[in-house]
């Protein structure tokens, strides 16, 4: 029983990392209708900024907050001066642009900070708590709580605020939104800025565990995208739950399903996606797009 609980808790902890990135992807998707494949790269850049500021002697928490603010502006600037040129065109072109952006940011980080692994101090101590025969690290718990808070804030933003409504309106139908007096451009910038902020949060949560390298988020991004599709791109709660599900099921399948084992567990999220997309094309928590004729 101890092992089972441990595996579930470990899964929730890794799942939280995927969830942070997935939330940022959902935010951009909700605000612009795009999938931002550069999200992982942007998260790494934010983490490097926090690391560099911390290296200059700024206390860790302040350095992270500064990196979060800088990331907001970076995200907004990227939207305004790069992505906007492609937003209303062919979505395939935009996908290629964001993948290009990912390569560019990764290269930029490597150019400035090299590919050496950098040690990133953790916000949480390396201590553990015992619960029901399982060991929970304070860091996993901290990551978990921060992600839950982000998820709830995001859900509240979309469902309970004017800004969230405007963001959704712009994503669904920019022309109508503009006619209703919504400043489309500003909202798109805010959407990207907020996503960059979430990426920054993901980056600084992951960096202490994976050590900071330009490609740190590459594998996490694949899982985050899986979580987005599984949970439904329109639901922040959905993607977080999906990310947790992926983390937990992956762990359990590796240990308890003999033919999967630790070697095949990377296939688990993708098998899940195929099954879910077959049964529910909009994802577990996504809304079906309704078209009036």
């Amino acid at each position: 029983m101890g092992t089972f609980i441990q595996l579930v808790i470990d899964g929730l902890s890794t799942g939280s990392i995927y969830a942070a990135l997935a939330l940022a992807i959902v935010l951009v998707n909700q605000a612009t209708g795009l999938i931002n494949f550069a999200q992982g790269g942007m998260a790494v850049l934010s983490a490097y900024i926090a690391w560099a500021l911390n290296g200059l002697g700024i206390p860790l928490l302040l350095a992270i907050l500064a990196a979060v603010v800088i990331s907001f502006f970076l995200g907004a600037v990227i939207e305004r001066y790069l992505i906007r040129r492609f937003e209303r065109g062919d979505p395939d072109t935009a996908v290629v642009v964001t993948i290009g952006l990912l390569t560019l940011i990764t290269g930029f980080c490597a150019w400035i900070w090299t590919y050496n692994n950098r040690l990133f101090p953790s916000l949480f101590p390396l201590e553990t708590i015992q619960i029901a025969g399982a060991v929970i690290s304070v860091r996993s718990l901290g990551t978990f709580i921060v992600i839950v808070a982000c998820m709830l804030l995001l859900q509240a933003l979309f469902l309970g605020t004017k800004l969230g409504l405007a963001l959704r309106a712009v994503a669904i139908n920019p022309a109508s939104a503009a006619f209703s007096g919504v400043n489309v451009g500003r909202n798109l910038m805010i959407g990207w800025g907020l996503a960059a902020v979430l990426g920054a949060v993901a980056g600084v949560l992951v960096a202490p565990q994976l050590t900071l390298t330009p490609g740190m988020m590459d594998s996490a991004l694949v899982y985050a995208l899986a979580a987005c599709i599984l949970g439904g791109l329109s639901s922040p709660i959905g993607v977080v739950v999906a990310a947790w599900l992926i983390g937990v099921l992956e762990n359990l399948a590796a240990v308890y399903v003999p033919f999967i084992g630790h070697d095949l567990k990377i296939a688990v999220p993708f098998i899940l996606i195929f099954v879910v997309l077959f049964l529910r094309p909009q994802g577990l928590f996504g809304r079906k797009a309704v078209v009036r004729v």
Binding site: T14, N117, L126, F270
Partner: protein, 423 residues
């Protein structure tokens, strides 16, 4: 309508990427059995060499997840020959003094790109050297044999490159994985106590080689029992589940045959979180004191052992030694690498530079054939920064240039030699 279609399209793109990721993980284990052993005829002067210069090619990962060690493979050898060139060049056995130029291309640890890089370089360089990676080096093994281009002193522990029948134009530099695993096994088998061993290994030639060597060495030792054995994929972001399972085995020795730096750090941390405190065996390329053991909190374990043949640049005493200081200075000056390298590959490739200089000194003709002859005739050569007892010996078929390794134990700062388990 358009939103729905866009979602479907996005979903298919994401699913497509997922499939590629899965396939990439599954196809990482490459094969290849070269059978072409044509030894070729001599030419007047081979490509890539003139009376006053020689050009060497390198294909290695300079971007992507393996770029840390990959950039090191270029930096060390560039630093070594940068310093030699500044002194006027390297003296060859044919009486000429030549400067050594390095042409390095990025393969991102992708076998296809490595092959393309080789194709691009093969007619302009004299020999290919130093490049890091088993699948990437295997990708152009057959081509190098067919083209009679030396692929030598490369950084892979795959034994195929040291087998002269299978690889006539090749030679590995670093010990084969089996050598390292065997050294651990011998140390443990010599212990006076009983031990339970848990093993976690990378699911490819690298991990299999280590485990094979280890098991060979403990065969017949009745004080050793392997109680649990698991694997992981090099693409995994976390091995927490494996550690949880292994911790439950009650093993007092943990052999972690792992090549991914961040995963080793998180393994050390996770193991402490679980309250599982065995002695550790770590491979030579993932046991850096400053980059891995310190952040992982390795001092919490009764013993962390590694095998090595070269000094660790990250050890505190390194920069104080004359050789170490010269290495760091040359690395900064000629290879644009100002940091103290966290990866051993910088030191290794510096030693490759020194070994090549030794070989060049014994070449009597500016041909690839003559180079290969001279290369296979080095014995008892002590390259700079080698640990006492390790030497370069290229004369034994089946073994790479360096095959003598020493087990070392972490002492909280750097490593000290470990002659036996119980000391």
């Amino acid at each position: 309508m358009s939103t729905n279609r866009r979602r479907m399209r996005v979903a298919s793109v994401v699913a497509g990427i997922g499939i590629v990721a899965v396939l990439a993980a599954g196809c990482a284990r490459g094969g290849g059995s070269p059978n072409d052993t044509d030894d070729g005829g001599a030419a007047e002067a081979s490509p890539g060499i003139t009376d006053d210069s020689i050009t060497l090619g390198i294909t290695t990962p300079l971007s992507g997840p393996t770029a840390g060690p990959g950039t090191c493979t270029v930096a060390g050898v560039t630093a070594y020959f940068g310093a030699r060139n500044a002194e006027g060049g390297v003296e060859f056995g044919d009486g000429n003094t030549r400067t050594v130029e390095i042409e390095a291309l990025d393969d991102e640890y992708d076998p296809q790109k490595a092959k393309a890089n080789y194709d691009q370089l093969k007619s302009s360089v004299f020999a290919m050297t130093a490049g890091l990676g088993t699948p990437t080096n295997r990708a152009w093994l057959d081509a190098a044999i067919a083209d009679e281009v030396p692929q030598v002193l490369i950084m892979t522990g795959d034994p195929i490159f040291s087998n002269q029948e299978e690889s006539p134009w090749q030679l590995g530099f670093v010990p084969i994985y089996q050598n390292e695993g065997e050294a651990f096994g011998e140390l443990l088998a010599g212990s006076a106590e009983d031990h339970k061993v848990a093993i976690l290994s990378q699911n490819d030639d690298y991990g299999e080689g280590y485990v094979e060597g280890f098991k060979t060495a403990i065969e017949g030792a009745d004080n050793i029992e392997v109680v649990k054995e698991l694997t992981y994929e090099a693409t995994d972001t976390s091995v927490d589940a494996q550690l949880t399972e292994l911790a439950g085995s009650g093993a007092d020795v943990f052999f972690n045959a792992m090549s991914i730096t961040p995963l080793v750090i998180s393994s050390l941390q996770k193991s402490q979180e679980l309250g599982w405190l065995p002695s550790w065996f770590l491979p030579s390329n993932t046991s850096s004191p400053s980059a891995i053991l310190e952040p992982g909190g390795a001092a919490a374990f009764p013993g962390v052992y590694t095998v090595a043949f070269a000094q660790s640049a990250a050890a505190p005493t390194f920069a104080e030694s004359e050789e170490g200081a010269a290495f760091l200075e040359q690395l900064a000056e000629y290879a644009n690498y100002p940091d103290v390298p966290a990866f051993p590959h910088c030191v290794w490739s510096y030693q490759i530079g020194a070994t090549l200089e030794e070989v060049f000194g014994n070449m009597t003709e500016p041909t690839r054939e003559n180079f290969m002859e001279a290369l296979r005739d080095v014995s008892g050569f002590t390259a700079p920064l080698m640990l006492e007892g390790s030497t370069v010996d290229t004369t034994q078929d089946g073994l790479p240039a360096v095959s003598t390794v020493q087990v070392q134990k972490y002492n909280g700062k750097g490593y000290a030699p470990a002659e036996s388990w119980d000391e």
